[in-house]
């Protein structure tokens, strides 16, 4: 494509208002860092909005699990679910996985940015590297949170009531999870130079985390090895309080409640939901710190 721009002839002053607008770059301050965080965050939103395909595709897998697996295995599971639909049972896990996929994708944009050069534009700006990482994580959390809202809207289809407190609680947990997962993803993405490798690593990490977390099964009465893995899986601590919230708003028999929502235990002690949320938050902050540290160390 040729451009139709008239090359400016040297020496002649270009047309119209030719007072040079001179700007200056201030010294680094908290304000300038916040501005940088905000624009990195906004960029994630703009890009997400521009990429409608991504919104749709990252929902495909969770919805497959929810409706296909949920409906397909219903017959097999009937004996154990005490009258609760399998779809309803796995819904909290699906809420988590939907957020997780999107958050990981957001983190992948660091690899993408590196491959396409844009990362350099941010790296040479007179801002802290931590501002870039924090902006990215907040952006990923927001985008994933939005994706989560779509899944929340489907609650009625799986017999979960639209109770305001429930929706609010789920949304809060989702944002927290999204932030932590993005931090986790960024931590990995900083070390990886190619998108394909990142996708591979992601597959290797996301699916096991999902399967082990108890998104698809109750976390009591597991074989020893699986119980240990389950308690070590961070996603467990997002699925469990989410399920408790959902089941708090269902009208089901105590027997069903006990069987399907036994709650995570540490050596027999029931871990309260707030502590579980705390685990997610703490892990998120640790991974954020590692990501910032790694990112600052790269030239």
């Amino acid at each position: 494509m040729s451009t139709t721009v008239e090359p400016a002839t040297p020496g002649t002053t270009p047309p119209a208002h030719r007072e040079v607008v001179r700007v200056s770059v201030p010294k680094r301050s908290l304000g300038s860092e916040l501005r940088a965080i905000k624009i990195v965050w906004r960029r994630e939103l703009i890009r997400f909005r521009a990429d409608r395909i991504r919104i749709a595709t990252s929902l495909v897998q969770p919805l497959l699990f929810l409706f296909v697996l949920g409906s397909g295995l219903q017959g097999l599971a009937r004996a154990g679910t005490h009258g609760v639909a399998l779809k309803t049972f796995i819904y909290p896990g699906i809420l988590c996985i939907a957020v997780m996929f999107t958050a990981m994708f957001s983190a992948a944009s660091i690899v993408w940015d590196r491959e396409f050069g844009f990362l350099r534009e941010m790296m040479v700006a007179p801002i802290r590297r931590s501002s870039i990482v924090i902006g990215k994580c907040l952006g990923g959390a927001t985008v994933a949170g939005f994706q989560g809202v779509i899944v929340i809207c489907l609650a009625g289809l799986v017999h979960v009531p639209y109770a305001p407190l429930l929706l609010l609680g789920i949304f809060g947990l989702q944002l927290l999870l999204a932030f932590s997962i993005t931090a986790f993803g960024v931590m990995i993405a900083v070390r990886i130079k190619q998108m394909q490798s990142f996708m591979g690593v992601m597959q290797m990490i996301v699916m096991p985390m999902f399967f082990i977390s108890g998104a698809l099964f109750p976390v009591s009465g597991l074989p020893g090895w699986l119980a240990v893995l389950n308690r070590l899986d961070p996603l467990t601590y997002a699925v469990d309080p989410m399920r408790r919230l959902v089941f708090d708003h269902l009208t089901i028999s105590p027997l069903a409640r006990r069987a399907l929502d036994p709650g995570v235990t540490w050596w027999g002690w029931h871990v309260p939901g707030l502590l579980e949320a705390g685990v997610i938050a703490a892990l998120g902050l640790v991974m954020l710190s590692i990501a910032i540290w790694e990112f600052s160390a790269t030239e």
Binding site: S2, K27, R120, V124
Partner: protein, 337 residues
């Protein structure tokens, strides 16, 4: 051209002392020294792999020098990294735009990252985009832009925060001649309008002519540094190129008959002699081999480059790519690693 900065002091825009960068065994930059005055257009000329980009990366605080020191806009590139960054604009060899965003969004993002005063973002953006002729395309998504438009947008973005020094790393590489010329028009216009120092690398000889001064870099060292005119004047010889049927024999005959050292360059036998026009009749009268054609030219930067490095820039690049290929072959045949 004023050589003083805003404070009236004549501190150089860039000062480099004994700068060295090594990557493992490879000594990419081997102790370079130079100064660039405020307001100058300074060119770094050399074949790919000569160490130009490594030097520019150190000046832009993207790479730490192994040893030596450099200051840009009065700030040390290692100890005052942020101050350097606030005062420089960068246009990289590889694109660094966000293709998902519009041209205006890319520039606004840049202004936000640099903390440009909010009320000045819009007028400044209009100014730099008008300069590169992209104002009417400001709301187009960058992925729809051609290579030349992207490069122009990158130049506009590099200027968004009114940098005191603008670094351009091969700003015209891979562009068609027309776009290359218009980019040079922008650079010259810029020089007249804003108080700015421009540091650029190129391996196009004709572009180097536009610089106030150029440094020729080869194998990590600066082998010559002066204005293009002075460099060409220093060669002192005209360049004669002859076409023969047997280049090897012609080179041998030239050495035997006239004591001239010639070499094959770009498919012809080339050599330098003082007063080339006067030499040609003598050549035809006395040369023992048939000559198919002859041309005489005043020294160009190519000749300057040749006289300092012993090869033309294109041959130097071919040599280097051959060398690279050889290294790659060795690596592949060597199996692991």
């Amino acid at each position: 051209m004023s050589l003083t900065d805003a404070n009236g002091a004549s501190a150089p825009a860039i000062a480099v002392r004994d700068l060295v960068k090594t990557f493992g065994e490879v000594r990419a930059v081997r102790g370079v020294n130079f100064e660039v005055a405020v307001g100058e257009v300074f060119g770094f000329l050399g074949p790919n792999g000569a160490g130009k980009t490594t030097t520019i990366n150190m000046l832009c605080t993207l790479a730490k020098p192994t040893s030596g020191a450099a200051s840009v806009a009065g700030h040390d590139v290692v100890s005052e990294r942020d101050d350097v960054r606030r005062n420089i604009g960068l246009v990289f060899q590889d694109p660094t735009l966000d293709g998902y965003l519009t041209a205006a969004q890319n520039l606004k993002l840049h202004a936000e990252l640099y903390g440009v005063q909010s009320d000045l973002v819009q007028p400044r953006m209009q100014q730099v985009m008008e300069m590169v002729g992209l104002w009417d395309r400001k709301d187009s998504v960058v992925s729809t832009f051609s290579g030349g438009m992207r490069r122009r947008l990158e130049i506009a973005r590099g200027l968004m925060h009114s940098p005191r020094v603008l670094f351009l790393d091969e700003p015209t590489i891979g562009l068609d001649p027309q776009t290359r010329r218009s980019i040079w028009d922008y650079i010259r216009e810029l020089k007249e309008r804003e108080e700015i120092t421009i540091f650029m690398t190129t391996h196009y000889m004709d572009e180097a002519e536009w610089c106030d001064r150029i440094a020729i870099m080869d194998h990590g060292e600066i082998v010559a540094l002066d204005s293009p005119e002075a460099l060409k004047g220093g060669v002192g010889k005209d360049r004669v190129t002859i076409q023969t049927d047997d280049d090897e024999a012609a080179i041998a005959a030239l050495a035997r008959q006239f004591g001239i050292e010639a070499k094959v360059s770009e498919g012809a036998v080339a050599f330098g002699v003082p007063a080339g026009e006067e030499f040609v009749p003598r050549l035809f009268a006395e040369f023992e081999l048939p000559i198919r054609s002859v041309s005489v030219s005043r020294p160009t930067l190519d000749d300057v480059f040749m006289s300092y490095t012993g090869s033309t820039i294109r041959d130097a690049e071919e040599d280097q790519s051959k060398h690279r290929n050889r290294v790659m072959m060795q690596m592949m045949s060597g199996g692991r690693r």
